[in-house]
Symmetry: C2
Subunit: 679 residues, 2 copies
């Protein structure tokens, strides 16, 4: 490993002592026999030991920095390679071609092409941030050159007073801070801060970090509740979590205080957005639910009970809640994040880990309104959910957060990028008639670089540590270096089988606990230490082993990975009479490419024994699920027809992991499959 | 019968010679045996005789005026009674209480309560129109008194130049015709015209009709493509069909020409709404899809291919297309209406006859986007669909239009009013968690009076006549007087059984054809004439009998009325794995009031033999459908859980007609029921 010693990105030490809701998923299959260690029942013991659990885990864990975890996993290594070699160059090219870089030169004149947009700097900054991460885990002279040039563009675009926004510096120059609800200036600032931290971590240079700090200090001079300041906040959250990162990178508490101001001021009376001059909202965005709860500013964050509004804004805010709660050791603020988490996972989360079901405003809808082909599920929203879950996980040590993190990572987020890394989904519906296909860029192109920064920092999601314990949350082949100097090497067949090997190299001979998350998808599981079965302690969702490890000690895990047929809560009316298939962390779908006809007429009996088979040649190598199905030979033309017991002919079906759909041909796809009668 | 001789309301002589699409429903059950006369197969012969069919039927039929049809049916008679005795007084009271009548006195001042709204006159006019119809079919001194007072309010509110709108005459007086897209002035005018025609038909007085004609003439002096006129049209269609009614009532062709102008000008380049001053659209309505196709003004109506935008506006326009096409003998304009009908019934029509699925803008969505609990289905939209279907039916003689008319009438529209006639649905979702309940009024209260005018004029939907044929479209007990002076008395057990009796009283001994529509829901059917079986000719969807009828001749029809389990087109993904139950014209639902637990966990096997039983004491007397079901004893709390074959316990279920839901208690309801495995 080649990681420098700088503070890790996305480092999120836990803080507050409350217990989160377990979340709305209960996917663990029934135990196959009396020998099963892990079952529904054992999960329930968590509730009984609630208080004990809280006391044990509060403030305990810190994630390993992504730079201290080298991913060796064939599946995720390939995703990181493609991200590095294809996606980042592609995004750089698109930023160049669309004028996003040029905009930072502040030389645009009316009549020129590529008129800058007020959120373009966020795309540029997010590319820069992602490129820095990618370069740090695998150095690359060409990418470093691009990074230097883009960083310099930002440095030169900063105004004497510290302000930095390429749009409002050269266009609408009299509109600075005039429309916080819509204009994304503070949102863009946040992404510049995050890029600056990443740049500093990569290069050791303070040049861009100084720009960020000057900008942050200028913002601090403008915003606040003090006389003469604007008591406002941004319509699109992001600066809050970014300021915490700036604080973590610099140790300057004023950045944390400003983050705390933005979090706490939000939704306080009198509502800032009500005070903003009327008529500043562009017509196209009026009516798009663009009211206070659309931007999570209807009541103070501590009083918010329900995830609402624009999904990406929401999860960025919730990340900041967790961050500020942790840094300020404020359990009541964290409790607000827990309440929102429970609401999300109990009634607004897709089985793919997608969130934000509504096309109107890219937003959360009402409870249990999770349509499939009309699911919005912005890629950025799943990425943001992963960020949020990651913070909640460190804070609480509760594997329920890791379950959702894994679900969003392997499905809702990963689907956002094609296998070749060069095209992207902005929306991730759970069904399509064939009209939804990946694109190489978007007018609002937030998603590609968000995926890129997630993939480059994936290492930080796998392990956490405390003074006396190492936790493994995700089963991704990797070499990790812990703070104490100890190391773990993880290998095995994940994500396609549940056999995982760990080689332990403790820094010293001292006793340390190892905790391995028991995934929600596994059946029975088995633990071997140096080849011999052991009576592992299953405690709070982790297999826990404590001993004085010796260098070369091996832990082997065998997680059963059955095909699971999932049903939806009866309140998900659009899923009634349908199942979704899952195996391991992957949710599956069926798509036209695997059928002679259309997937729209396919029905599957959930009671059958499904076959799972790894196909090396398919979609870069995936495990497919196969089985018996019934298909309508002649799909009716009419909207409604008489139900018939004998309709459909027997056939076989093949399901592929959801993330890999739309990589072969354009066609219909669905995750939720109607149930066929028993055959 | 007590009908005067004035021209009938909603009289819609057919005109153009084209054949409509059959519509997207094919609900006829399989024939139970070889004896079945009517089957899927026989339906298909219509297509083979397409040309012949067109030639035979073009321009042929005219509906009987509602005033020439006295409804004696226990079911519909009760609905008319409740409408007369409860709904109309209730609406009158609410118009009074909310200041809608007061507004017409033009004395509102800032600071007064009940500030008038720009579409209030439409509510008042529609109440007046409905009250006139109701009074005409059953005179009522009290109602006449109210009618006189409201008519006088309108008469006195008219301005010297003919303009009439209580809002723009006393508030925003400088905004007359300044915002056609939004301000509903022409829409309100249309409702005043319709009320004036109804008032004239009831009273014989010209007082309000003269007001309407003066207003129409003033509008004609303002709008048009001639130099100095406004080449615009209303954002909410209605005036088009109303001007045709004014033409029919007065014989003045300038009203027809103005209707034609409004229909044809719509969507022509340059688009009027693009020309309107920017910024006139109130912020609340911007972004609500409030673009040109939202108001069906994106391309000329003759080029429109897909039903789109606000559903009520859309169907009002399509009514006018049919009206103008008929009056101007323009088959190409009618062909546009046929295309739009096909599009509607092939991919945008709920099984309840509800239309306009989207809560955003009360609008049509994309093809096959028909969510259930999030269905908007405005009551007015189903009412407007009935108006449109009624016109198309007269024009073509195609029973497919009557099928949809009947579906919307008995389900989507009728559900809009409580059994006691005093509360109303604005939206008619096909499923509810229990939070959707009827209200006694709405801020935008278009629906109650729309239902009232439909119920009062229901008689006009039952029969049509031509020179040598009488058609029966709906099986509703009634006494009808045909233009020739002949009469039919219809009686029987409809809508709860399929036994219908007709007593014929021909005006003279001449030969006349009788045509009885074969409903889409019937199984086998049988025809008796004076008690003896006959070989009835089934022709173009009607049982046709031709002879020199004698007074007292009886025709008896026996339509099998099986319980039909309907399945949705596979593209209706939210209905996959679910069925809807229908019997006769009624679509059924299950609601919490009939279950110990919640309907949300109930599943039903569609292969069973369902029981249909008339329950005199339930909901005013309805036939319920009963059978075996599976119910989840403990509904899972989680969003997703493992599917289990043994889940649920056997139980019985009871389904009630959809129109009658939410009349006992608040609770969950669903039309589409998940399929249970065979038991």
């Amino acid at each position: 490993m080649e990681a420098p010693e700088a503070g890790g990105a996305i480092r999120s030490p836990p803080c507050a002592p409350t217990r989160p809701g377990r979340g709305g998923m209960e996917l663990r299959p029934d135990p196959p026999g009396a020998g099963a260690i892990h079952s529904f029942k054992s999960q329930k013991t968590i509730g009984k030991h609630k208080k004990h659990f809280k006391m044990l885990l509060m403030f305990k864990y810190t994630p390993l920095p992504y730079s201290d975890v080298r991913i060796t996993d064939p599946f995720w290594g390939e995703r990181q390679r493609v991200n590095h070699e294809k996606s980042l160059p592609k995004q750089h090219e698109m930023c160049e071609r669309t004028g996003r870089f040029e905009a930072l030169k502040l030389q645009w004149k009316p009549g020129d092409e590529n008129r800058p947009h007020h959120f373009w700097d966020s795309d540029t900054a997010k590319w820069l941030e992602a490129a820095c991460y990618a370069c740090r885990i695998r150095d690359d002279a060409d990418l470093r050159g691009k990074i230097d040039r883009v960083a310099e563009l930002f440095e030169k675009a900063q105004q004497p007073d510290g302000y930095l926004n390429s749009y409002f510096t050269q266009i609408d120059t009299d509109r600075r801070w005039k429309n916080l609800r819509f204009n994304h200036e503070l949102y863009c600032a946040g992404h510049i801060f995050e890029a600056a931290v990443a740049h500093h971590e990569l290069t050791g240079s303070d040049s861009l970090l100084r720009v960020a700090c000057r900008f942050a200090d200028y913002i601090g001079s403008v915003f606040g509740t003090e006389e003469g300041k604007i008591p406002g906040y941004c319509g699109h959250e992001e600066i809050e979590l970014a300021l915490v990162r700036l604080y973590q990178a610099t140790g300057q508490s004023r950045h944390l205080e400003l983050a705390s101001y933005f979090v706490e001021q939000r939704g306080r009376q009198p509502l800032w957005f009500k005070l903003e001059q009327e008529g500043v909202i562009p017509p196209d965005f009026q009516g798009h639910g663009f009211v206070d709860d659309y931007v999570q500013a209807h009541v103070p964050v501590r009083e918010q009970q329900e995830v609402c509004g624009h999904a990406v804004r929401a999860v960025y805010l919730y990340c900041a809640l967790a961050d500020v709660a942790r840094e300020k050791k404020d359990p009541t603020l964290f409790a607000a994040a827990e309440r929102l988490w429970s609401n999300l996972t109990e009634c607004k989360l897709y089985v793919t880990g997608g969130i934000g079901s509504s096309w109107v405003g890219e937003a959360f809808s009402t409870k249990y309104d999770l349509p499939n082909e009309r699911a919005y599920c912005e890629t950025c929203a799943s990425v943001g959910l992963i960020f949020w879950a990651h913070r909640m996980l460190q804070h609480s040590g509760d594997p329920a957060y890791a379950d959702v993190l894994e679900r969003a990572l392997y499905n809702g987020a990963l689907a956002g990028m094609s296998l070749d890394g060069e095209s992207f989904f902005y929306q991730n519906p759970l069904a399509s008639f064939g009209g939804h296909n990946r694109q190489d860029w978007f007018e609002c192109s937030c998603c590609p670089s968000n995926l890129s920064r997630l993939l480059a920092t994936l290492g930080s999601h796998i392990y956490s540590e405390s003074a006396d314990e190492w936790l493994v949350h995700l089963y991704i082949g990797s070499e990790a270096r812990f703070g104490s100097g100890g190391r773990i090497r993880q290998s095995g067949g994940s994500p396609w089988d549940g056999h995982v090997e760990f080689e332990i190299d403790p820094a010293a001979g001292r006793e340390i606990g190892l905790g391995f998350r028991i995934p929600s998808w596994c059946g029975a599981h088995e633990v071997l230490v140096n080849g011999a079965g052991v009576d592992a302690v299953e405690d709070r969702g982790y297999i826990r082993l404590r001993r004085a490890w010796r260098s070369g000690d091996r832990v082997s895990l065998r997680f059963e990975m059955p095909v699971i047929a999932l049903a939806g809560n009866p309140r998900l009316m659009g899923n009634s009479g349908q199942i979704a298939l899952q195996r391991g962390p992957f949710v599956y779908c069926i798509e036209d490419a695997d059928f002679a006809g259309s997937v729209l007429g396919v029905r599957v009996s959930p009671a059958q024994k499904f076959d799972a088979r790894f196909d090396t040649d398919l979609l870069g190598g995936v495990t497919v699920i196969e089985g018996r199905a019934v298909a309508d030979a002649n799909s009716p033309d009419t909207l409604y027809h008489r139900w018939g017991p004998a309709a459909g002919t027997g056939t076989r079906f093949r399901a592929i992991p959801y993330f890999a759909w739309n990589n072969r041909s354009r066609g219909a796809m669905r995750v939720w499959i109607p149930i066929a009668p028993e055959q």
